[in-house]
Symmetry: C2
Subunit: 222 residues, 2 copies
């Protein structure tokens, strides 16, 4: 469902070029559970942002569901992002002046779904935030904000879930509870790609891909 072919991403800072991704090839099949690992700055988030149709590569091809993403219009891309992909950002990206439950409702507003409030509340309950529906992001702890971002990514029941360091701010018990949710979703057939630097979290995945300096240097697992 996800196929990266010779994906390169070059950033320009001032007039200095920096290759964050160098001809990356990666395939994720439907129903896979893949963990992406690697040092800080090795290109994991850059790769995930391209997979999530949030950024375009400098060169190379990206096929999502068999379709070449570069051929899709902006509104088609927005449709793919809203209906097919749940994205958990490394920096959460919650709306600041909006309550937790309204943040989680947002994907349902865009997709025109019914029973938004009820679905948003049950997503928040599933990540352990039953008491925090009304809190705005700055009235939540770091790990609570992260869990709101996870609830928001899952509420629309997307077939593909992309999570960038979803447990970075969580203690091991809260982190394990999130991983159990991901595991259950994967057993129901969802495709999951997860970036993590924690080996115990990566151990929940079926496949592990290692990045170093913008390249994939190793792949483990089926």
């Amino acid at each position: 469902v996800i196929e990266l072919r010779n994906i390169t991403k070059i950033y320009l800072t001032g007039n200095v070029e920096f290759a964050a991704l160098k001809s990356v090839n990666l395939t994720v099949q439907e129903g896979d559970f893949t963990a992406i690992m690697g040092h800080s700055g090795s290109g994991k988030s850059t790769c995930m942002n391209i997979i999530g149709c949030l950024d375009r590569p400098t060169s190379g091809e990206y096929l999502f569901g068999g379709e070449n993403v570069s051929k899709l219009s902006d509104s088609q891309l927005a449709e793919v992002r809203n209906k097919k992909i749940g994205f958990v950002f490394q920096s959460f990206n919650l709306l600041a002046r909006t309550s937790a439950v309204q943040n989680v409702e947002l994907p349902l507003v865009y997709s025109g779904a019914k029973n938004r409030r009820q679905k948003a509340e049950s997503a928040l309950i599933s990540v352990g935030l039953a008491e925090k529906f009304a809190n705005k992001p700055n009235e939540l702890s770091g790990g609570q904000q992260q869990r709101v971002a996870i609830a928001r990514a899952l509420v629309n029941d997307p077939p593909v879930i992309l999570a960038d360091e979803p447990t970075g701010n969580l203690d091991s018990k809260s982190g394990e509870e999130i991983m159990k949710i991901f595991k259950a979703l994967n057993e129901k057939g969802k495709t999951i790609v997860l970036i993590t630097h924690e080996p115990d979290i990566a151990a929940f995945a079926k496949k592990r891909v290692y990045f170093k300096d913008g390249e994939i240097i190793k792949t483990e697992g089926e």
Copy 2:
């Protein structure tokens, strides 16, 4: 150097009261290296923000360097924060439109120090970011932003370092490099208080304090 006596912090969300800290007592001696641990939402950051003079308790006394912080004026508090405390925020708190090196220079600007550029650059080199002086926060990876925040907290050579989850976005190698810096500073006599949910990171500390639901339930180590 840090003494919390019956510190309570109550937040109001809408008209619901929530006690994030309930009569917390904690002493940190000069030269201590203390790790604060506990579940997501247990009150760690709330406690750290009070210790760092960034927030005031609802009740209780806080003595910093033997002085009651509530008796200090705003400008005296700003002086304590700038000269005596290096603070690493859980959410980094970097200036968005400013380069990495300018972000690290900021505490030196406030304290009127000499050789600011040189000191800021060597702080960034010590956290592994020699190639990233000119990058703005949105041109850096999550772990790189975190390391800029660490460099900024250390550049003024403060006697007390408060770090809230400083390795949350770092792979184990980068995380270990940061902990070695903290350990070396502690061996030079700096007082360090660190929040972490990772046991291997807490293992670098000499003392461990466990929070649960706004209270300290256990303390380990000398």
